[in-house]
């Protein structure tokens, strides 16, 4: 416990707040770029917890996992942005409300 400068509960709370902000961003934003950014926020909320608990338990595995998450997040951003470029070329906007071609 003494290894942490701030009490553990605060980390969890901060992570929860960040995650919730991400969720709200995904759910409310109409701009696809903001949605992507919100997703990043959620990933980083999780990363924060991983790092904290790695420290708490003295297990390096948590930090290693963070690197993986960062890698995947980078890939995801690249693919996501590529898709958005394609969408923009086709639709002229990145407003997700206008992407309704899957309507049955």
């Amino acid at each position: 416990m003494t290894l942490l400068p701030v009490p553990l509960g605060n980390y969890i709370l901060l992570s929860g707040i960040l995650f919730s902000l991400g969720v709200i961003g995904v759910l409310t934003a109409r701009n696809a770029i903001i949605i992507l950014m919100s997703v990043e926020l959620m990933l980083n909320a999780a990363n924060l917890l991983l790092v904290v608990f790695a420290r708490v338990h003295g297990d390096i595995g948590g930090q290693v996992m963070v690197f993986f998450v960062l890698t995947v997040a980078a890939a995801e951003a690249a693919v996501g942005l590529a898709i958005l470029v394609a969408v923009f070329r086709r639709k002229g906007s990145v407003d997700v409300d206008r992407l309704n071609m899957l309507k049955g």
């Binding site: 995904v26 759910l27 409310t28 409300d97 992407l99 309704n100 071609m101 899957l102 309507k103 049955g104």
Partner: protein, 644 residues
């Protein structure tokens, strides 16, 4: 030579493949050449085979290029057998077939589909040779079905004409009825004999007959049912007159000279089985005699030149069955051979006339062609004299033999002889009615038509067949007239088994009786010719007069006893009606209903489910998030409950 026996049918098959695949590219000339050359090779090989056969003491040669079916004890080689009977048949098939192929080159020269024609014709010869060379029932059945297929293809050769397409189907379907009997007979034979080889079946037949005679009778009747279909006998003869829709050389080859005689050949081949069951022989004789008379009566009044010949063919086939039925197997085959010569000649002559008059087949629009077409006229006249039974032509010898046998054979009957003799008179009459209407008197065709003699490729086969129609019968010249009955002796080894089963032929009939009957058969032939001369040359108004006086009888004959209509009413219509009923009530309602119902159900479910797919991204995201919260809440709740 003999080890190569199995290659005889292969030549026409090669011709079929070449013409079928490359005929169009290589052109008409080449396709005709291939068609004729392959048959010629087969014919020459057949002659060689006959020569080799004559030097074999046992008069039988078997060769099996490969095993076809081997399952446990059941073993069917793809075997061929050469014996005097099959030797006669392959010579007739390839010899007459070759002449008709040559004729076809001229006859079909204007048809753009000539390569298709020759490929089918070659395929037919292949199957026919397989049929007659087979050494077991199954290989014979291949040929049997194959010639039926080719008959269908060639009757419907001009398939753009609806009547030709219909005639082809009619021939095929009517033949299927007969084939059902043939295949049932093969099943019965296999079931009870355990083999399908001719030699083995005929060897064991007496033992089987001793145990159950009914079985042999059943097999014989079923085989004969197959024969009535293929050889156009009562009650399945109705397809042959319609088959005249095909090109005339096809009628000559398939529907006169060879395929329709397959039934005769088959009964002769199975003579041992038939001899073991006297009932079947009686049936064969009675059906044969009845068909001969019945068909001849219909030929009397037909106006289509080919229809006359078609009914004549049915009638002559009846003659052959009459001979087989009274145990005179050799006489039946002899008539088969001579008939192949003169009936092929009649058809080719008719084709020559039709060709000259630009596809006119109606006798009422012919007349006076004698001078314009001398070769056709003289050869046609020879054939007509031959079929009328005028000595010394081929038809006289074989027909007289049949009449004599039907009278004198221990299982013959004077009634059969009487029917045969009346038929002979009718035959002479209708054939000379045709000759006089077509070639004598005033021309009745439009003056714009200028008939001309056919080209050499058509005229030469006519001459060759004319020669055969004269001399073809001499090889069987009867003993009483100073001949040697050589043909009968040649075939004797084939029919030994059957002859041994039939009641012995006693020599009670005097020579005088035999001379008397010969005189009668010549007399009725001349009588028929004179009768036709009287009516159609001397006083042409007589037929007109009689037609109005006996209008009922005339219409009965002209409309072929309304047999087609009767069959239509009692068989075709009920069948089509019930099929339509089942189609509507069962196929549409039950089968389609079930299938469509299932599809409908899925469609309804999908239509409900599809509403969840709104395509709205944020709604989907909210739903997803809500689901996550619920799932997470559930996990937390259970965790707390377990730990708490």
């Amino acid at each position: 030579m003999l080890p190569l026996l199995w290659t005889i049918p292969l030549w026409p098959l090669l011709g079929f493949l070449l013409n079928g695949f490359f005929g169009r590219r290589w052109g008409k000339k080449t396709s005709g050449l291939i068609g004729c050359a392959t048959i010629l090779v087969s014919f020459l090989m057949s002659v060689g085979a006959l020569a080799s056969l004559l030097s074999l003491p046992e008069r039988r040669y078997l060769v099996a290029p490969f095993d076809w079916i081997v399952v446990g004890n059941f073993h069917v080689p793809f075997g061929f057998m050469l014996d005097p009977l099959s030797a006669v048949m392959i010579l007739v098939v390839s010899g007459v077939g070759f002449l008709i192929h040559v004729y076809s080159v001229g006859y079909m020269s204007h048809d753009p589909d000539q390569p298709r024609y020759f490929s089918f014709l070659n395929l037919f010869v292949f199957f026919m040779l397989v049929l007659v060379l087979a050494d077991n029932f199954l290989v014979m059945y291949i040929g049997w079905e194959g010639v039926g297929l080719c008959s269908y293809l060639l009757i419907g050769f001009w398939f753009r004409r609806p009547s030709a397409a219909r005639a082809g189907m009619k021939a095929f379907i009517v033949n299927r009825i007969g084939d059902l009997g043939f295949s049932l007979a093969i099943f019965l034979i296999f079931w009870n004999f355990g083999t399908l080889s001719f030699i083995e079946v005929f060897e064991r037949a007496p033992a089987v007959a001793a145990v159950s005679g009914g079985l042999i009778t059943a097999i014989g009747l079923l085989l004969f049912m197959g024969a009535t279909g293929k050889s156009a006998q009562i009650p399945l003869y109705v397809w042959l007159p319609d088959a005249m829709e095909g090109p005339t050389p096809v009628s000559a080859l398939i529907h006169a000279a060879t395929m329709v005689t397959a039934g005769v050949y088959m009964v002769a081949r199975c003579s041992t089985l038939f001899a073991l069951a006297p009932v079947t022989l009686a049936v064969v004789a009675i059906i044969g005699a009845a068909t001969a008379l019945f068909a001849a009566s219909m030929a009397l009044v037909q106006n289509d030149i080919k229809k006359v010949l078609a009914y004549s063919t049915i009638s002559q086939l009846g003659y052959m069955f009459l001979a087989l039925g009274v145990g005179a197997f050799a006489a039946g085959i002899f008539h088969l051979m001579t008939h192949a010569f003169f009936k092929a000649l009649l058809f080719l002559g008719a084709g020559s006339v039709i060709h000259a008059l630009s596809d006119e087949q109606d006798l009422r629009k012919m007349g006076g062609l004698k001078t314009a077409m001398p070769i056709t006229y003289w050869t046609f006249l020879i054939a007509a004299l031959a079929i009328a039974g005028v000595p010394p032509l081929a038809g006289f010898v074989s027909k007289d033999e049949i009449l004599w046998q039907s009278f004198s054979s221990p299982i013959g009957h004077w009634l059969l002889w009487l029917v045969g003799t009346i038929t002979a008179a009718l035959t002479a009459f209708y054939m000379f009615r045709l000759v006089f209407l077509a070639f004598h008197g005033q021309s009745r065709y439009p003056s714009t038509v200028h008939p001309h003699e056919s080209p050499g490729s058509m005229a030469k086969p006519l001459i060759a067949l004319g020669v055969l129609s004269v001399i073809g019968g001499w090889i069987g010249w009867p003993k009483v007239l100073g001949g040697g009955s050589w043909f009968e002796h040649f075939l004797a080894p084939v029919f030994e088994g059957a002859e041994a089963r039939l009641p012995a032929r006693e020599a009670t009939h005097s020579l005088g009786l035999e001379y008397g009957l010969i005189a009668v058969s010549i007399a009725v032939g001349l009588l028929g010719i004179g009768w036709a001369y009287q009516w159609y040359v001397k006083s042409p108004e007589r037929p007109e007069h009689l037609r109005t006086r006996f209008a009922g009888l005339y219409n009965l004959l002209l409309n072929k006893y309304w047999v087609d209509e009767i069959y239509d009413a009692i068989i075709v219509r009920p069948l089509v009606g019930s099929a339509r009923f089942l189609y509507r009530r069962f196929d549409l309602a039950v089968v389609d209903g079930t299938a469509n119902g299932i599809a409908k159900l899925a469609q309804t479910l999908a239509a409900t489910g599809v509403r969840t797919s709104t395509g709205r991204f944020r709604l989907g995201a909210v739903t997803f998030a809500f689901g996550c919260v619920v799932a997470l809440g559930w996990v937390v709740y259970t965790f707390l409950r377990v730990s708490g």
